[in-house]
Each structure stands twice: as structure tokens, then as C-alpha cells.
């Protein structure tokens, strides 16, 4: 983590294949003062993640091509992106979908529909946790 990052607003990568899904959360988070990047599928999400190394990732699970579960798995296996919190976003209400998301390494699961406010709360919670872990790792 460099100095510029420490002073800049946190960068959120919003991944969703549905345009309005992406737009609502991106617009709201920007409105709330976050820096936001977006990706429309799994492959793009991976590219953006490796390139930008965001502070948190909002990952829709049902994606064309590489889906959200697979993308998360890859992110969590990679040295560079392992520690970035991933919040799964899904319209699947069944417990099995949630369990699978946790198995591949998602730090939290949020069921759609989800109010932008609630999502922002979860993002902040994850950022806080990540910072704590980081300060623990590098005292």
C-alpha cells in the first residue's frame, strides 16, 4: 500500500453483468465519496482487480463466462489480490448459493434486492476489518 492510497478515498470494484445493477451501486457509492471502478463479467473483473488492486470488490455471482464464484476463487488464490475483501452480491436467496460463496472465499454475502445504504454499510464494515487485519500483520 502506497502513500497516495492512504490519503485517497477507497476504491470499490463493482462487478455486475446487469447494467442497472452496476449503475445503482456505482452511482450511490461515488455519491457517498468512494472511488468506483466497474466490470461487466468475470474476466473483466479479474483484469481490473489485478490492474487496479481495489480496496474492496462487490461481486455479482451470476455472470456470463467466468462466474462470480470462479472469479472470487482465482482472486483468493492470487498473492496480489488475496487480501482484498470480496462481498458477494446475489439474487439467489437459497442457503446453498450463500454457502458456496463463502467456500470460495467471499468475505460477506448480500442478497439482492439490497438497499444502497445497506450495501454501503457492508462495504465500510469490510474495509474496517481489512485495515485491522493489516495493522495486525504490520504493527
Amino acid at each position: 500500500m502506497n502513500d497516495s492510497k492512504a490519503t485517497e478515498a477507497p476504491l470499490v470494484l463493482v462487478v455486475d453483468d446487469v447494467d442497472h445493477g452496476r449503475e445503482i451501486f456505482a452511482e450511490y457509492l461515488e455519491f457517498r465519496g468512494f472511488r468506483v471502478a466497474t466490470a461487466a463479467d468475470g474476466l473483466e473483473a479479474l483484469e481490473k482487480a489485478f490492474e487496479l488492486l481495489p480496496d474492496v470488490i462487490l461481486m455479482d455471482l451470476s455472470l456470463p463466462g467466468i462466474d462470480g464464484w470462479e472469479a472470487t476463487r482465482r482472486l483468493k488464490q492470487d498473492e496480489r489480490t488475496r487480501d482484498i475483501p470480496v462481498i458477494a452480491l446475489t439474487a439467489h436467496a437459497l442457503a446453498s448459493a450463500h454457502d458456496k460463496a463463502r467456500e470460495v472465499g467471499c468475505n460477506a454475502v448480500v442478497t439482492k434486492p439490497c438497499l444502497p445504504q445497506e450495501l454501503e454499510q457492508e462495504v465500510r464494515r469490510q474495509l474496517e476489518t481489512a485495515t485491522k487485519n493489516e495493522s495486525k500483520a504490520q504493527p
Binding site: 445503482i24 451501486f25 437459497l94 442478497t111
Partner: protein, 698 residues
């Protein structure tokens, strides 16, 4: 007295061969030529150790015979005279002192003249002659000397002859007793063996150089033998005695026969004859054993015969045994019915039938004996001796041959053909019925299998349909959620002022959009719950649950709702409610739902929640009561069905989905519990959830 007389005497004396005759001759000569009135000649009997009277002159023969002196009686004057070798005169009775004695000569004086043998051999006898007062005449001495010589010569000859004879006899005796194989022994009073034959020596004596074993055996035998001698309790009895054969080592059994005898100088002795009865005993034992075997064999034969009878009697078909002449020697009861006249039940008819049967059978059996084959089969048309009904039989005869191949008997078995025919018909019938039955079973089975298959297919289809329904619902839910997310999201963006400030009417209308989209989400969630319960995919998590704590949580969640009403909310917790094992989340969902309903449908008054033990053991109850609008009796059942609310317009106003009670009831079932309702329209309702303290075992 001339020498002629002396010569004649010598001649006569030499001619005599007997001692007594010589003595008689001498005494007669003395009477004639020496004027001797009375005299006696006594002879030494060396064998018996006595001096005994031989013959007398002018004396009673009985007195002479009675005269006998012990040669050992050394103080007897006559014995002293005999040993002295010189004539002694006994003149008067005073001279008899200190040993007065009598002689056949009576109370008179006499001369005692020892009869010396030739070459000064010891005296062979004593000559007593009367006239002891006068001196002895030369003739008397001469005759006495001559007699002495002659007697000792005769005695010597005789002794020699006797000795030879004794030796011979002894040898014979020994050969006789030795030829007896049974041991024979003569023992003295102390049990010492005096004579033993070879048989006895073999058992009871041994030489020093013999083996230790043999010496021991002999010592043992002697001990055993001696024991019987003293335990016999006198002679004449027979005893058994076991001895050891010293050379073979085996035991021999003897029967001991005893006879008391006198030995040497009259001592008592005992003759023992040991009869070897070992072989006898063995033979007798063998005979006993053979007899026993015979008895056993006899019993076995009898048992075998009894068994044969039993077997024969247990055969249903008539069985007959005939001897080689064709005579029936044995038959079982079924055969007796055909071939014998029962006692007391006879009658001419029966006898005639039996005779006919007998003739038929005899001619059949003669075929067998005449032929070479061992078996013969034929048909016999007999008559039932009792009823006279024709009785056709199939007959099988078999020859019984001895080991030597002789015909000893024939066994014939008759098989009832009438019965066989009957049985065959019966069998056909049974077979037919069974075939029919089998066909029916087969049809029924086929039908059953078909139905099973159908059911299985239906079950499979049902399962598939159910799975598809669940999948469909899940998909629908997903597809509904996505646009709903957009609606709710944009509404919020606008309300939050992301796209600029809103006017009051705009804000109000957007609030409506927001409320309705929230309601839609609740409906979708409830539908998904129902779908999950129905498809059995609602996961349950058993947990220890403290119900007072759970109720507190629910109360906290509905606190904002309560705050918006003027209702009095009462909580009553029975203290002795145990911790229960159930799915915490589901229970909470039910209680929350019931409480929310109560709050929604009670415009005024109170709402209470009461936790307690149910009447039934192991059950708890959570009752939620209100003083609300109540439910009409006709609606009390349908209210638990999907989308049924007693007053739908009111409920919609209250934001209910109409699915809450349906879900509650189904969840309660899922937890092995139930929900009951007591209500009166306009007065209020009580919904009670009953739950088991622990889940039932599946």
C-alpha cells in the same frame, strides 16, 4: 551130650533163614540139652530203638510179645546188661533194685546173656534163661554165642536187603511224586519242607547263582506258601494259593489239598498237594465269557427280530416271507387280512376266500422258486377276506439267499393297485387345481408387478415434478429479485438525493414505490419459504434453545411496532420451562410472525405472550393472545391456507403477505409441533404454538 547133637544144632541153625525160627530152635535145643525150663529171646530193633521180645520158652506168647524196652533207657538193668556184652545173673528180686523190673520169666532168678554178633559187633539181642542161682552151663553159653552169630548174620543180610529195597522204593516213590506235575510237599510242624517233588522245587527252591528276579519270586512263593500252612486252620481243607512262576513270571493259581501225617518219631506233619488250576480258571472264565457273548448275541438277534417286525408292521402294503417250500412263515397285519382267518371272526366265506388267496399266492411264489432270477414281478387278483371285494395287487418277490447261495426264503411285497389307481386320479385332480392356482398367482403377480412399475414411474415423475417446481420457484425468485433490486435501488438513489433535491410530492410518491417494493420482496421471500418447506429443502438446525431469551429477542425486534401503537403488551414466563432442543431460527420466525399478526390486528386493548409447560408431558407452549378483531369460526380453518386472510383489505393495509400463518403452521409441523387457534369475532384471538422439548427420533 555128644558133639553129634551140637553138630546137628549147628546144621539146623544154619539152615534156618528166619531170626524167630533160629531163636525157637535155640530155645528148644537148650531145653533139651541144657535142661533150661524157661527162657526168652529178645532182639534189638534198631529202627525203633527198642529191645523187643522175639520168642519164649515155657512162657505165654502174649507176655513175650508185650516185652519191649527202650534202648535209650540206659539205667535199665537189662539195657546195661545188653551193652555190657557179658552174661549177668539176676539171682533174686533184691538185685532188681534200684530199678525193679519185670520180665516174662516172672519173679525168678535168671541169667541175661547178650547175644553178641561176629567181630564184636554190638549186641543183636538178649537171651534170658531161668536158673540164675546156679552157674551157667557151657552149652548155654555156646548156644547163645552161636545164636548171636547166626542172628547178627541174618540181621546183616536182612538189613542189606531192606536197605536196598528201601532205596529202590524210595526211588520209585520219588519218581512217582516227581511224575506228578502238581507240586507236592511234606512239611514238619514248624513248616520246614522235608520233601518236595520237582514241581514244588521249581516254585519254592532256587540255587544261589540264579537271577535276582527268580530268587525274589521263590522267596515270595515261600512266604505265600508258609502263610497258607499256618492259616489253613488244620489239614483236610482245600485253599486257593497264588504263586509266581519263577521262570515265566506269570501268576499261577493253585488249589491246595492238605493231609496231616506223622513224620519221624511220630511228630505231626502235613502233606500239601498244590493243584494247578490256572488253566482251569482261565478255561472257566473263557466259558463264562463265551456264555455272556452268546447271551448278548441272542439279545441282539432278538432285538433285530423285533425291529424287523416293527419295520414289517409299519409297512402299509402286505408283506409276506415264505420258506423254500412256499409256506408263509411271516407276515405283517395288512397281509394277515388277506391270508388268515381272524379268530372268532371266521365263517365259511372268509375261510374260502383265504384259501383262494393262499392258492393264488402259492402259485405265484412257486414261479419265483422255479425260475433262476432273484426277483419276480406279477399281478395277483386276490379277494378281500372280509368284504369279498376283488383286490388287485402288484406283487414283487425277492429271493433271500444265504452266504452259500442257498435259497433260504423269499420276501413278497404286495402293492394295492386299486389304491394306486385312486391315488393317481386324486393326484391328477390336485395337479390340475394346483396348476390353476399357479396360473392365477402368476396373473396376479404380473398385475402387481405392472402396478408397481406404474407406481414407481409415477413416484419418479412426482419427484421430478417436485424438483422442477422447486427449481422453478428458485429461478422465479431470482428473476423477480433482480428487477426489484433495480426498483428499490433507484428509488433509494432518488430519495437520497443522489440526482438532486426532490419536491415534497415527488418524495411522497417515491416513498409509496419504496413501501410497495418492500411488500413485494416480503411476498417473494414467503413464497420461497413455502416452496422450500414443500420440497423438503428447508434445512433444520437443532440447537439448545432458552425460550425466555428467544422471546426477549422477538420483543426487541417488534419494539418499534409496539411503540407505534397504544397497546399494552404483556409477557408471562413460567419459571419452570426447560431448555428445549429445536431449530432456534424457525421458532423465532413463528413467534415473530404470531406476535406481528397480533399487533397488526389489534386496534386497541392488549397483546400478551405466555410461555408455559403444555398439558402433555414433554411439550411446551407459547401462546399469543390479543383483544383484536378476532376470526369468525368459518374462517378459522382456511386462515392457515395460503393467501387467506379473514379480512384481506385490512390485512393489505397492515402490510401482510397472507402467507405468514401458512408458513408458521408448516414450520411448526417441521419442528414436530403444532399451532392451534381459539378466537371469537370481535373479541380477539389466541394462537398457541406447541413444541416438543426434544425432536422425535426419525
Amino acid at each position: 551130650m555128644g558133639s553129634k547133637a551140637k553138630l546137628a544144632f549147628v546144621d539146623a541153625l544154619l539152615a534156618e533163614q528166619e531170626t524167630r525160627s533160629c531163636a525157637v530152635l535155640t530155645l528148644r535145643w537148650l531145653a533139651r540139652y541144657a535142661g533150661i525150663a524157661r527162657a526168652m529171646c529178645a532182639m534189638v530193633d534198631g529202627e525203633n530203638g527198642r529191645l523187643a521180645g522175639l520168642t519164649g520158652l515155657g512162657l505165654s506168647p502174649a507176655a513175650v510179645d508185650a516185652f519191649s524196652l527202650d534202648l535209650g533207657d540206659r539205667t535199665h538193668p537189662l539195657i546195661i546188661a545188653l551193652d555190657g556184652g557179658e552174661p549177668v545173673a539176676f539171682r533174686d528180686s533184691s538185685q532188681f533194685l534200684p530199678r525193679p523190673f519185670a520180665t516174662p520169666l516172672g519173679n525168678t532168678s535168671f541169667h541175661a546173656i547178650p547175644l553178641a554178633g561176629a567181630r564184636n559187633a554190638p549186641g543183636s539181642g538178649l537171651l534170658l534163661v531161668s536158673g540164675g542161682d546156679s552157674p551157667l552151663l557151657g552149652e548155654v553159653l555156646w548156644a547163645a554165642e552161636l545164636l548171636g552169630i547166626r542172628l547178627s548174620a541174618l540181621q546183616y543180610n536182612r538189613a542189606q536187603i531192606d536197605d536196598r529195597r528201601h532205596k529202590r522204593e524210595r526211588a520209585w516213590l520219588f519218581s512217582i511224586i516227581n511224575s506228578v506235575t502238581d507240586p507236592i510237599l511234606l512239611t514238619d510242624a514248624d513248616g520246614r519242607i522235608l520233601i518236595a517233588n520237582t514241581g514244588a522245587e521249581r516254585l519254592l527252591t532256587t540255587e544261589e547263582d540264579r537271577s535276582e528276579g527268580r530268587r525274589r519270586a521263590v522267596a515270595l512263593n515261600n512266604m505265600l506258601f508258609s502263610a497258607t500252612l499256618f492259616n489253613s486252620g488244620g489239614g483236610g481243607t482245600s485253599q486257593e494259593l497264588v504263586l509266581v512262576d519263577p521262570s515265566e513270571g506269570q501268576e499261577l493259581l493253585f488249589e491246595v489239598l492238605r493231609a496231616p501225617v506223622r513224620v519221624r518219631s511220630g511228630e505231626p506233619g502235613l502233606v500239601s498237594v498244590l493243584r494247578n488250576v490256572t488253566d482251569l480258571r482261565r478255561a472257566s472264565e473263557e466259558i463264562e465269557e463265551n456264555y455272556r457273548r452268546l447271551r448278548v448275541a441272542e439279545a441282539a438277534t432278538r432285538a433285530e427280530r423285533d425291529r424287523l417286525d416293527l419295520i414289517l408292521n409299519s409297512v402299509f402294503d402286505p408283506v409276506l416271507v415264505t420258506d423254500p417250500e412256499g409256506k408263509i412263515v411271516r407276515m405283517n397285519p395288512p397281509a394277515e387280512r388277506m391270508f388268515t382267518v381272524p379268530t372268532g371272526k371266521g365263517g365259511e366265506e372268509v375261510e374260502r376266500r383265504v384259501r383262494i388267496n393262499d392258492a393264488v399266492f402259492t402259485s405265484f411264489v412257486s414261479n419265483l422258486y422255479a425260475g433262476q432270477s432273484l426277483l419276480w414281478r406279477g399281478e395277483l387278483n386276490l379277494i378281500d377276506s372280509q368284504t369279498g371285494a376283488p383286490a388287485p395287487f402288484e406283487a414283487f418277490s425277492g429271493k433271500v439267499l444265504s452266504k452259500q447261495g442257498e435259497q433260504t426264503a423269499a420276501v413278497t411285497i404286495l402293492h394295492d393297485l386299486a389304491e394306486a389307481v385312486e391315488k393317481a386320479q386324486l393326484y391328477e385332480q390336485v395337479k390340475h387345481h394346483s396348476e390353476e392356482l399357479r396360473e392365477r398367482v402368476r396373473e396376479a403377480t404380473a398385475e402387481l408387478a405392472e402396478q408397481n412399475e406404474l407406481l414407481r414411474r409415477q413416484a419418479f415423475q412426482l419427484e421430478q415434478a417436485s424438483a422442477m417446481k422447486s427449481q422453478f420457484l428458485a429461478n422465479v425468485s431470482h428473476e423477480l429479485r433482480t428487477p426489484l433490486n433495480a426498483i428499490m435501488g433507484y428509488t433509494h438513489l432518488l430519495l437520497e438525493g443522489v440526482s438532486g433535491e426532490l419536491t415534497r410530492p415527488q418524495r411522497e410518491k417515491l416513498a409509496r414505490v419504496d413501501a410497495n417494493s418492500r411488500h413485494l420482496l416480503a411476498v417473494i421471500n414467503d413464497l420461497l419459504d413455502i416452496a422450500r418447506i414443500e420440497s423438503g429443502k428447508m434445512p433444520l438446525q437443532a440447537d439448545r434453545v432458552l425460550l425466555p431469551e428467544l422471546i426477549d429477542e422477538v420483543m426487541t425486534e417488534v419494539e418499534p411496532v409496539i411503540a407505534g401503537t397504544r397497546l399494552e403488551v404483556i409477557r408471562i414466563l413460567s419459571p419452570d420451562v426447560p431448555e428445549i432442543e429445536t431449530d432456534r431460527q424457525k421458532v423465532k420466525q413463528i413467534v415473530l410472525n404470531l406476535l406481528s399478526n397480533a399487533l397488526k390486528f389489534t386496534p386497541m386493548g392488549s397483546v400478551s405472550i405466555r410461555l408455559g409447560n403444555a398439558g402433555e408431558a414433554g411439550e411446551i407452549s407459547i401462546a399469543v393472545s390479543d383483544t383484536g378483531i378476532g376470526i369468525a369460526e368459518e374462517n378459522q380453518t382456511t386462515i392457515f391456507e395460503a393467501f387467506e386472510q379473514a379480512n384481506s383489505s385490512y390485512s393489505r393495509r397492515q402490510g401482510g403477505t397472507g402467507l405468514g400463518l401458512t408458513i408458521c403452521r408448516r414450520l411448526a409441523h417441521l419442528l414436530d409441533g403444532r399451532i392451534t387457534l381459539v378466537s371469537r369475532l370481535g373479541e380477539g384471538s389466541t394462537f398457541t404454538l406447541f413444541l416438543p422439548c426434544a425432536p422425535r427420533k426419525a
